[in-house]
Amino acid sequence: MEIAVTENSGVTILTPMNERLDAHNSDTMKGAMKESFEAGAKNVLVDLSHVRFIDSSGLGALVSGFKNSVSHRGRLTLSGLQEQVRSMFELTRLHRVFEIHEGLQDALASFSEGDVHG
């Protein structure tokens, strides 16, 4: 799976480019978040705007990223959840665990509101 990695004002933005985030490619997503935090990133944003479909493995990969953020005293936020993705977060109650923003700009703004880590 291709994951675009960009930087914006101290925020590492990871954008999975596939329409599906499932058991076939979730390890790649998991690895990308882990690498970012291990490389010293404190603020990581996963832009899910290209992802139309997620399964429990995709959700599990994001949970793994969330745990990495906690262990590295960083912050992980999500943005751009499409309908199926949002409903899967709600079904599994993970929407209560993650910081989720409507769009990329909202998410970036949340980092610049005086609470950027590092």
């Binding site: 499932d22 493995s57 599994t92 109650r93």
Partner: protein, 141 residues
């Protein structure tokens, strides 16, 4: 087999690269029903998810990700109900022991069967003729 019954029997290699294909078949099947009931978007997403979860459970857990094995899936849709069966040759598991995910969301695994149960009306897992069968029923309204 009824006038409006569709039955599909699919065998694919035990590889996660085929999850997308099988999920999309479920999606397409739900959309075939559109003329009957309308508004099949939700059902299309659900079948995509249920097939993906059931198949990845067979591939990764029952068959230990062995690429030389085969996953067998059968789908049957009539006017009033649909049934999905996923066959595996693994050790099997106790469906009753599978609980709800924890509220803290700290577990990476263990949501697949919970998701299937939320989306289908009846879910059973049993041994039959040398295979384990995960059988999932849903009424169509």
């Amino acid at each position: 087999m009824g006038r409006n019954t569709i039955e599909l029997d699919i065998k694919v290699p035990n590889q996660t690269r085929y999850l997308s294909l099988i999920g999309r078949i479920g999606d397409a099947l739900a959309r075939e029903l559109e003329e009957e009931g309308g508004g099949r978007e939700v059902l299309a997403d659900q079948l995509n998810v249920v097939l993906t979860e059931a198949m990845s459970n067979a591939i990764l857990h029952a068959h230990d990700d062995d690429p030389d094995k085969t996953v067998h899936i059968s789908l049957s849709i009539s006017d009033h109900e649909l049934c999905i069966r996923v066959f595996d040759q693994g050790r099997g598991f106790d469906l009753d022991a599978v609980g709800e995910p924890d509220d803290e969301g700290s577990e990476e695994h263990g949501r697949g069967l919970f998701i299937i149960r939320c989306m289908m009306d009846v879910v059973t897992y049993r041994r039959s003729k040398g295979f384990n069968v995960l059988e999932m029923w849903k009424k169509l309204r």
